[in-house]
């Protein structure tokens, strides 16, 4: 036991000390924060950047609609007092006015033009042409201004005052979804899907990163020939176990740091967003019960052991990183296959695909936690899937230990499948 502990300690400390680990652990949350803050910040930035005041409104409606649209676009310019110019044109002269405006835009005198005609009054269409055509925020602002003005105009035509019209059109429907589980109502549906995706992705990344880390560790022990000294003191099985547990603990440490930072970030998001002068987006923390948390941990640990043992066995079979790339492909394929189904399962977490993938040991460590956070998985299915995973883990670890024991001291040609069979039988 003391020796196992020594191996775990070495694997853990040597990895946690590396620059790579520190950078990834610290920058992971920073990246997450940046992903949240930068888009919000950019949205605000682009809103003020798209100067709509140099747009010209070609008003062919004969109703003064252009002036009202222009007024509601106040603020989308370089100064609060600037509004887009309005040219009132006769419907027959519209084509000519448009080609004139196009020329002006090309000469950079104008940034674009907005055409309002009879179809606009009818609530059917309006047109914008110009430099801001692909700016989503600018176009949304223009569309919003036209839509509201037309609506107000049509209300007025029905004899409703401008004041009343604004009041009537101001309402904006918000659609909210909420989950109900056995424990009661818990968090929003969309957010738990988002959370589930996050968890699945995190598991997938950890298994890939740290599984390959184990692979490289085993190859290092082989190529530097330090393996022989180590296995003359501990059994190869102990070395394998220590490696998997030590590296697994590194992955878990990193995840805990990440999750803790993300939770802290979301808890204090209002204050953090304030620093950047951005209103915090609405967000409800997903409720994860301790039981769910334990299940997530269990799936992660078993999934990690499953893949880590396979990666270690691959490492023992090969002699260089290049060879390892090739030999690890079957293992990687299983992982990638599991990852490919993350999205379809998110959309249909109760379907046949989702259920099947939750039973198979190579995909259940990723798919099951995902479903667990989105829906209520039946207990029988949950326990069954865990048992299948656990048994597969035992089998894989047993096989890997035998391959590892023989492979660790074998140099030269990579074994064929038949030779691998020999290794397993005679180890």
């Amino acid at each position: 036991m003391a020796k196992l502990w020594a191996v775990i300690k070495r694997e853990y400390i040597e990895r946690v000390r590396t620059k790579w680990f520190i950078i990834a652990t610290v920058f992971g949350p920073l990246l997450f924060a940046a992903l949240m803050i930068v888009p919000a910040w950019l949205t605000i930035k682009t809103k003020s950047a798209a100067d709509l005041s140099s747009t010209v409104i070609l008003d062919a409606t004969n109703t003064g609609l252009g002036a009202k649209v222009s007024e509601s676009l106040r603020g989308f310019g370089s100064g609060p007092e600037r509004v887009p110019d309005v040219r009132v044109v006769a419907p027959s002269a519209l084509t000519e006015a448009e080609s004139l405006a196009t020329a002006e835009v090309m000469r950079k005198q104008r940034s674009g033009y907005l055409v309002l005609d009879q179809q606009t009054v009818a609530g059917e269409s309006a047109r914008y042409a110009g430099r801001h055509a692909s700016s989503l925020t600018a176009m949304e602002a223009v569309e919003d201004a036209v839509e509201k003005t037309v609506l107000a105009y049509r209300f007025e035509a029905e004899g409703i005052s401008a004041e009343k019209a604004r009041e009537l059109t101001a309402g904006r429907l918000r659609f909210r979804t909420e989950r109900i589980t056995d424990e009661g109502r818990g968090g929003s549906g969309a957010i738990s899907a988002f959370f589930g995706l996050g968890i699945a992705f995190l598991l997938y990344m950890s298994i890939i990163l740290y599984g390959q880390n184990i692979l490289r560790g085993v190859i290092e022990e082989k190529t530097t020939r330090v393996a022989e000294v180590v296995v003359s003191s501990v059994r190869p099985e102990t070395l394998l176990a220590g490696k998997v547990l030590g590296v697994g603990a590194v992955g878990l440490t990193q995840q805990l740091v990440w999750v803790a930072t993300v939770v802290a970030f979301l808890t204090y998001r209002v204050q953090i967003f304030n620093v950047f002068g951005i209103p915090a987006p609405p967000f409800v923390m997903p409720g994860v019960s301790p039981g769910d948390g334990l299940l997530l941990l269990l799936f992660f640990v078993l999934g990690f052991v499953f893949y880590a043992a396979l990666f270690a066995a691959v490492g023992a079979m090969v002699n260089s990183d290049q060879e390892a790339q090739q030999a690890a492909q079957p293992v990687m394929l299983m992982l990638i296959a599991a990852a490919i189904f993350i999205q379809p399962v998110t959309f249909n977490p109760t379907g046949g695909l989702a259920t099947t993938m939750s039973w198979l040991p190579f995909s259940s460590p990723i798919i099951m936690p995902l479903r667990l956070t989105i829906i209520n998985v039946p207990t029988t299915e949950l326990i069954g899937s865990l048992i299948v995973l656990l048994l597969s883990c035992l089998l894989v670890v047993w096989l890997a230990a035998r391959i590892y024991r023989v492979g660790l001291l074998m140099y030269g040609k990579r074994p064929t499948l038949r030779e691998l069979g020999h290794w397993i039988r005679y180890a």
């Binding site: 191996v7 070495r10 003191s233």
Partner: protein, 321 residues
Amino acid sequence: MPEPAVEIRNVVKRFAAHTAVRDLSLVVPRGTVYGLLGPNGAGKTTTIRMILNVIAPDSGTITILGQDSTSDSILDRVGYLPEERGLYRKMKVRSILRFLAELKGMSRRQADPLIDEWLERLSLKTPDKDWGAAKVDELSRGMQQKVQFIAALLHDPELVILDEPFSGLDPVNSQALQDTIVELRRRGKTVIFSTHLMDSAERMCDAVCIIANGDKVLDGALADVKAENAGRTVAVALDGAPSSEIDRIFADKSLVERVDDSNRFFEVELQPGADAQELLRAIVGSGARVKRFELVQPSLHQIFLERVGAKGVEPGISGHG
């Protein structure tokens, strides 16, 4: 009589294509320096790995210091320097030694002072520079070999097994290693080392075992081995030029197989079964004056060539003895 340091009984190890060790039995007495000799591919490393339970024999038993080699903590009392040597490249020297000591059941507190002692003894720690704080990467090859050597001896093992310890060592380190082996023996430890360098084995070993092609060719105390293989070569020196009578005696095929003639000094190889006394009588009878007549003790090198040469090295076998 304490139980032997190592006792191997009828051990067999087969790999897919060939038999690496064939029904090997040998006994290494305690407190001796024991040489495991043989050409490349003879099965030396396989034997050593089986002693250390790194690989399991297909059949047979191995006992170390009176206990089964697979029993749990017996390897804590054994130190091992493998032929292919290496260390974790990115680790600090002190941490790696501490780790390897922990694997031998030592606590950190026990190991740390010993590590410093050893680093100083092998001049890896001087007032100017402490290589213990350096990463393995930064060390020269010679220094790395010293670190590996410390790792094998740090836990003061009763049995030390060195696989081709002299290969790749410069003369200075080679001498240091030899001194250490002698010192270990003086302190009552048992040292087993494998080599194909017969002169270092001859200088240092109390007992040897020669294996070739997985078979034991001979084993026993060095003196016995030499005595058993002596008796066929006679060194003869005469006073004055040899007469034609002497030539006739040396040409007698019933007595002499071969003669190295250096005019006044002859190295005579007797026919198997021929008696050296008869040769002496014949020479004296010829009237020649004998200055020297000596049954030559063959060198280990000669014994090795004679006993193994015929069997040779199995063609196509490479890698680790």
